[in-house]
């Protein structure tokens, strides 16, 4: 299950939903809003997404993970809207028979999300409000 959501992310529900009786392990990555970036204090982050394309790209990332590793369940959710320090911005959970597959697939997914999914963040800090520097999207076939 993948989604872009303006609602708060319930990481406990994601963990439970990723459980599978044939899986021996679950890897869960949770990204949250940090109170600083480099040398300035961050108070909140606004996340914006091109929802339709972002959800298609998340589905492609899930397919990529399933082709490479034998995984049981895959969940990835990314927030949009205004988030405060400590709020969860993204969660990826993968269950697999063994921990190696779960860890590797989870790392692959969050790494890909950061460079392939059309989501942008604007940081509100004491020094001003500005869009984060990011990764230029590349054509994928």
């Amino acid at each position: 299950m993948i989604s872009i959501s303006s609602e708060p992310i319930d990481i406990c529900k994601i963990l439970v939903d990723t459980m599978d009786s044939s899986a021996g392990g679950i890897a869960l990555f949770v990204g949250s809003v940090r109170d600083h970036n480099k040398d300035h204090v961050v108070s909140e982050i606004y996340y914006e997404a091109y929802k339709e394309m972002a959800e298609e790209n998340l589905a492609e990332i899930e397919n990529g993970a399933r082709k490479t590793w034998k995984i049981k369940k895959f969940l990835a959710v990314h927030r949009t809207g205004n988030l405060k320090v400590g709020d969860v911005s993204v969660a990826v959970a993968v269950s697999a028979e063994h921990r190696k597959e779960a860890f590797e697939a989870c790392k692959y997914a969050i790494d890909e999300i950061k460079v392939r999914v059309p989501i942008w963040k604007k940081e509100v800090s004491e020094s001003g409000v500005y869009w984060s520097e990011g990764f230029s999207l590349q054509k994928s076939d």
Binding site: Y50, S89, V115, P118, G134, L137, K139
Partner: protein
Amino acid sequence: MTKEENQELIPSLVVVKLFASCREIVGKDKITLKSTDKMITARDLRRMISELFPSLPTRIQFVIAVNHKIANDSTTISQVDEVAILPPVSGG
């Protein structure tokens, strides 16, 4: 004049969605570009956007998405396509 010939004279309108910093620089979440060609390429679209909003390409290294896929210069665009310009991404 046949209906087909008549349609060829109607300029095509391409709606372009704008996101994040691109939207803020232009001041709109979508723009409509008019072309006398029924079909244009992503290279043409980039040139048209640069002419209308010269500060955009100098400030943002944007890419063009056509029907949710990243386009290359030769990707063709017609008015039925969903087009967007996307600044570098920063999710996570």
